[in-house]
Homo-oligomer: 263 residues x 2
């Protein structure tokens, strides 16, 4: 009956929460968004690890039975370093996304887009190569995509032009599958689809992560079958900004957004 | 002989450092950029004040004789609340920029552009109205300008299109003077000038701030006339990223960039 803990640098992780609610409607969820220190995508590995540990300790105070890292940068930089430190099971978004992409590609050419941190970590590439060493991976950072999404520039000339420039290396590499390696990017699916062409598959980790969470909870006998699916949202700054943006990611308004100092 | 302390949320404050070095070549400077928590422009007043106090305490450990807040968001949100708490004199960038704009306008219509925080605070407007209640102020937030500058998109179709959209209210208001109310914006001067027209004056606080610092140091008998003009840079994250970007703001490469934990 204990809740699932989910954290992200800000609001993007709500795309994962949306899938968790859909697939596990009885689970209670405690979400933490580190909006005082957002974004993480431009920050160093060392700093991302420090912030992540602080976020995990915050969630543990809420007696979570499981932690889902709903942020690609954290999953890339911090998860490998910290997952063995804690008793609570922790999953990230990299493995599920990589698996789905390897399953989806026909020509064994996968593109990865993400923040500077995610791309620099090469986490997707390493995971994909382990699953299938023959896959060729082309990875590019798209640092303006997060500001575009947060400012609501989801279509039009500006975002198209930037997307064309960012995605050109993926077109040149003739990838048939692209991993949307940042929780903000699913909101840019239409423009990415238009640039890449309709035959290119776009992989959004959120769905796969929820499947993985479901599987692990079941195997550990931790599923909540009778809960009412309560969600509580905590942020380290700007609860109003979070609530305003949340609708865009969650598909419905958020209530219960509380500001806390996590450090 | 003690150094001047300068801080900013990140790298933008270097436009002020550049002017300080030019106008006060004998002064030693200790700069702190809070790159672990950058940007401040989207964060709440309460959080910006908390971070600012931590940054000031860090600079005080370096025995600074004077503190210059080289960040419009901090100057807007935090300076009025904290300047009386500390013995050390503290100046921000709002008053000098507002004064210069009031002096420059002919038609008494001033535009202000800045981060969401700076615009929401109405700090420039309040300062201008105090100097001349007849001036009409039109203020707009330009949240994509900082990411553009940091990603090196300083000209071209994308930044022009966004600038046209952001600046339209200033054109509609027929302002003859625009305050570049964010230390990143001077790097976009050419595109802003093109959109606003060549007769519109662009006010960049950095120069005025350095004049003010000079004046206060002289009046308090704190000028360093024999120093060698050493500059030390401290950041809370990513010294390499800071060094790479610094050249764009400072006009020369930075050395002595050290990573510290300010909290």
């Amino acid at each position: 009956m204990r809740p699932i803990g989910v954290f992200d640098s800000g609001v993007g992780g709500l795309t994962v929460v949306k899938e968790l609610i859909r697939q596990l409607p009885n689970e209670d969820i405690v979400y933490f968004g580190d909006t005082a220190r957002v974004p993480y995508g431009i920050k160093s590995k060392e700093t991302v690890i420090r912030f992540s540990i602080e976020n995990i300790l915050f969630l543990l105070k809420h007696d979570v039975k499981f932690i889902c890292i709903a942020c690609n940068t954290v999953s890339s930089y911090a998860l490998p370093e910290i997952k063995n430190h804690f008793k609570v099971p922790i999953v990230g978004v990299i493995s599920p996304g990589a698996r789905e992409a390897v399953y989806a590609t026909q020509n064994k050419r996968i593109g990865v887009i993400g923040t500077k941190g995610t791309i620099k970590s090469r986490a997707y590439e390493l995971e994909i190569k382990q699953l299938d060493p023959k896959v060729k991976v082309t990875a590019v950072a798209c640092p303006l995509f997060v500001p575009f999404v947060e400012e609501g520039w989801l279509s039009g000339e500006v975002v198209s032009t930037v997307a064309k420039e960012y995605l050109q290396p993926l077109k040149d590499a003739k990838v048939d599958t692209v991993i949307l390696g940042c929780t903000h990017y699913p909101l840019l699916k239409p423009v990415i689809k238009r640039v890449m062409g309709k035959d290119v598959k776009l992989i959004d980790s959120a769905k796969q992560v929820a499947i993985e969470v479901n599987k692990i909870l079941a195997s550990e006998n931790l599923l909540n079958k009778k809960g009412r699916g309560r969600t509580d949202f905590f942020v380290s700054d700007n609860p109003e900004w979070f609530s305003n943006l949340a609708g865009r990611f969650l598909g419905r308004p958020t209530k219960n957004v509380k500001k806390v100092n996590n450090v």
